[in-house]
């Protein structure tokens, strides 16, 4: 276990180094961060002054070593566009995305897994058909389109929820539904397919031969379907935490990490982009380790390196 932890930490550091370097070079190669931070009609003098104040007039090599040194000390500096400390913005924005993802994935689990179980065990053909078409719809609805539709119906027409922004619990409802729809489709599908598969396996016959209740038989199958369901579910969660929420955050003007990534990149804001990238990386590495621990709990064969 300790060995795994060390290995993971090391791999995370290497990843962070590569990502931070990429940010630096991509920004310098493709863009002009100084020009981007000035109005379009800025004079060459203003430009030169700005470049000097941001340190962009120094040799690239010097800029690079300074930058990497600062990042290594977790000093990301101030955002070019907002002048506020970069890590500060990240730390205010991330909890909001956590909230959105938490509620969205909570909904996904609460609705998706039971629905998958019902679809896997139903003997009624119409339930199966209805479920499958709903699942397919959930899978193919674009997030941003659903977001706009939800705003139109539930905010503008019915007035039940606010259109956008953050505030009370009402602000969370629509964006988390929009965020949950794709993962919900996938969760239903994987639960249904793997559970149906597991229910055909010989150990289920053994369980039934012991005269166990259908509920207990289902528990046997669910334990085994769990690994696949957890894989899909955690994959979706990690994607969302890594900034996949950007579309939903944009549609609902939700000031989370996703929209911060979008802003930082479009402003070629090196300090902010680096801060976001390092923070997201950290979250992903930690989340992946949690997923690993969960796997070990779910399947003893993984814990003993047999699978």
């Amino acid at each position: 276990m300790l060995q795994v932890f060390v290995k993971r930490t090391f791999r995370g550091l290497v990843l962070a180094f590569v990502a931070v370097n990429l940010v630096f070079f991509v920004v310098h190669v493709i863009g002009d961060p100084v020009g981007r931070s000035l109005p379009l009609d800025a004079t060459p003098e203003q430009y030169a002054a700005r470049a000097e104040s941001l340190g962009f007039d120094r040799p690239l090599w010097e800029q690079y070593t300074d930058y990497v040194g600062d990042v290594a000390r977790l000093d990301f500096g101030d955002s070019i566009s907002t002048q506020a400390p970069a890590m500060g913005s990240v730390l205010t924005r991330f909890p909001r995305t956590f909230l959105l993802v938490g509620v969205g994935m909570g909904l996904t689990a609460l609705i998706g897994i039971p629905t998958g179980v019902i679809l896997a065990t139903t003997k009624r053909r119409w339930v199966d058909r209805l479920g499958n078409s709903l699942t397919l719809t959930a899978l193919s609805v674009p997030q941003f389109w659903l977001g706009i539709l939800l705003i139109l119906v539930f905010s503008l027409k019915l007035g039940w929820f606010p259109t956008s922004g953050i505030g009370g619990w009402k602000h969370v409802v629509l964006p988390s539904i929009a965020l949950a729809i794709g993962p919900l489709g996938k969760t239903i599908q994987i639960t249904q397919v793997t559970l149906r598969d597991e229910l055909q396996k010989p150990y289920i016959r053994t369980a039934r031969a012991k005269g166990l209740s259908e509920g207990r038989v289902l528990y046997h199958a669910l334990r085994n379907a769990g690994v696949a369901v957890a894989t899909v579910f955690s994959h979706e969660t990690i994607l969302a935490l890594a900034g996949y929420t950007v579309l939903v955050e944009t549609v609902f003007a939700w000031p989370g990490i996703g929209s911060l990534i979008a802003e930082a990149i479009s402003n070629l804001d090196i300090p902010l982009t680096s801060a976001v990238v390092v923070a997201v990386l950290l979250v992903v590495v930690v989340a992946n380790s949690l997923v690993d621990i969960m796997y070990r709990r779910l399947d003893p064969r993984i814990a003993r390196g047999l699978k």
Binding site: Y203, R205, K210, G211, N224, D299, R301
Partner: protein
């Protein structure tokens, strides 16, 4: 270990007559079991033998209602003289009355649950014990199937045990329901010969100590025959010969039984294995008359295209073959 002529009480426990099983495979009907009748008396040991795919397992699964939903079962089943009238009544027999042990203990045990839990859950279900008491009972059953260090084995997962140990766990799970009849479906297939003998030993000692009735289902006549009071030879979804094991082994009447016994490896070195030429027919393509006729060395031509008559001998032995009529003249 073997007591073929034990004085088994003759009170009928399970009587199944004229069992038919039809599978609906995408609209095509596969008539896999075509009128098998089996009687098991209290404390009796019965063997069902025949090649793979002849309908042995399917008939047994039909008796406990464990077939897939595309199977249609007909026939008459009585348990202790009570006629089973519905699938629900059949399901109610599972576990507490009829226990089953399956082939391939690796896939027949849940890979993600501790084996002790898989034994204990049966106890909890049938005797309503709480978790702690169920655990104590589970350990007791693990001990009864001669697993060393049952406290330790309780916490093991199936992949951590050997094939023989897993099979013992499965037997413990079946015993934990305290059944009166145990069906061992190819319970020793896939185990090495020594382990096979140990498991058969265990099953017969449990049978003797608990007065269990046991049905051995096996493709290997040699492995189980000596344990069984009665033997049913199954072929093409029918029981082609049935009677006392000793009589059948001494004087097999049906050509298929003879072929099956001839195919057993002998002790002498000179013996070459004699197989049965050809393959058993598939359930969707059974020949119209005697299912064995196409492979039968003594087939009598035209006549064998008609369903063979049933001959019941004085000893109660039943043989389904046209030869019986020709030889004995009845």
């Amino acid at each position: 270990m073997n007591q073929p002529h034990r004085n088994a009480s003759s009170a009928p426990l399970l009587q199944a007559s004229d069992i038919h099983v039809r599978f609906d495979v995408e609209g095509e009907i596969h008539h896999a079991v075509r009128g098998v009748s089996i009687d098991v008396a209290e404390g009796q040991t019965v063997g069902l033998v025949g090649e793979s795919g002849c309908g042995k397992t399917v008939s047994m699964l039909a008796l406990v209602g464990l077939l897939a939903s595309n199977a249609e079962v007909s026939g008459r089943i009585t348990y202790r003289g009570n006629l089973i009238k519905s699938h629900a009544e059949l399901v109610a027999l599972r576990g507490s009355t009829i226990g089953m042990v399956f082939q391939d203990s690796m896939s027949s045990l849940n890979p993600l649950l501790k084996v002790g839990v898989q034994v204990g859950e049966a106890v909890r279900r049938h005797r309503g014990l709480d978790r702690k008491a169920a655990k104590r009972e589970a350990i007791r059953y693990l001990e009864q199937v001669s697993l060393p260090e049952p406290d330790h084995v309780y916490h093991a997962y199936p992949h951590e045990l050997s094939g023989g140990e897993r099979q013992r766990v499965m037997i413990a799970g079946a015993l934990a329901c305290e059944p009166e009849l145990l069906i061992a479906d190819e319970a020793t297939t896939g185990l090495d010969v020594t382990t096979q003998a140990e498991i058969l030993d265990l099953l017969s000692s449990l049978r003797d100590s608990r007065g269990l009735a046991v049905v051995f289902v096996s493709h290997d006549v040699g492995a189980v025959a000596e344990l069984c009071d009665d033997l049913y030879v199954i072929y093409g979804g029918r029981s082609v010969e049935a009677g006392r094991t000793s009589e059948i082994l001494n004087e097999p009447r049906h050509p298929y039984t003879r072929a099956l016994l001839d195919a057993l490896p002998g002790m002498e070195v000179r013996d070459r294995l004699t197989g049965i030429p050809g393959l058993p027919p598939l359930p969707h393509a059974f020949p119209p008359g005697c299912a064995f006729a196409p492979r039968c060395a003594q087939a009598m031509g035209e006549q064998c295209n008609e369903p063979p008559p049933l001959f019941t001998m004085k000893s109660g032995r039943r043989v389904e073959c046209w030869l019986e009529g020709a030889v004995t003249g009845d």
